[in-house]
Amino acid sequence: MTPAAATAVLAAPAPPGFLSPTGVEIAFLLVGLVTLGAALVSVTTRQLVHAALWLVVALGGLAVEYLLLTAEFIAWVQVLIYVGSVVVLLLFGLMLTKAPIGRSPDADSGNRWAALTVAVAAAVALVWVVVDAFRTTWIDLDGPAAGTTEVTGASLFRHWVLPFEALSVLLLAALVGAIVLSRKAKADAAAPAAPGKEGAR
């Protein structure tokens, strides 16, 4: 940084600190700690159903973070889709694969320490780079909210209509694909083994 630029930075109005008078940082920090703790428990617990339930806490905490970032529409979509349907799907998957209730000792694979090394190295590198890159960047949360339903809807249906429609086709394809994958194959129905299987179910 040249001296002129340095003086320009110094002459600029004092940058906002790490805390604002509204205290939104404190709320963000507390909810973030809860979210991160729930995520950590969710990936380390040995009880499979508890992992899904801690995932609910993590995803709900993220919805609160969206609200604190004034993105209310995203927050409610997060509550509806993630907390409402994805976790229910995961719980149904756990039940349909006969996941053991209670502690299962083989929830983690043998390469846990390699995974921990990779994750910690990635976390250190990412946090270092992010903090160093955005050291002097502040989000201005005052004024009209940037993510109300009106603003999001206007931008979505003014600029993003074609991707939106393509996404509906993708969802339809995923629906059909899930049905095709999860129903029994027709070829096996003709085989002699199929009636026994049907009777067993």
């Binding site: 499979l48 000792p105 043998g110 846990r112 921990l116 994750a119 600029h159 969802l171 994958l181």
Partner: protein
Amino acid sequence: MHLAYPAVLSALLFCTGLYGVLARRNAILVLMSVELMLNAVNLNLVAFDVWLSRTARETLHSGQALTLFTIAIAAAEIGIGLAIVLAVYRNRGTSDIDKLRDTAEGPETAGPDTEGPGTSAAEKAEATA
């Protein structure tokens, strides 16, 4: 608000999901960790969208639109993924990804009966763990 708060939280959540993907054995738990990673990316998108919409007067709101698309694609992905896991469980009787070694290359995969050495190696690793 300093931009580092959401960015650091997002990075830490992403690495938590990364650990879960690498360390978990049950396929459904791996899918849950993938959801965590996707959510970390969503938080980053929303934070940068709020920052840019005020600082750079960006009116496209691309971050929020991409977040909505990511959420929808994640819902599709979890549906397809669970259908695949259930099909695998119906065929094999297990959803442990350590035991699905049919396409693995190496000395222990000699023929179609690779289930025996694979499971024995997995059980050995379990016993030592």
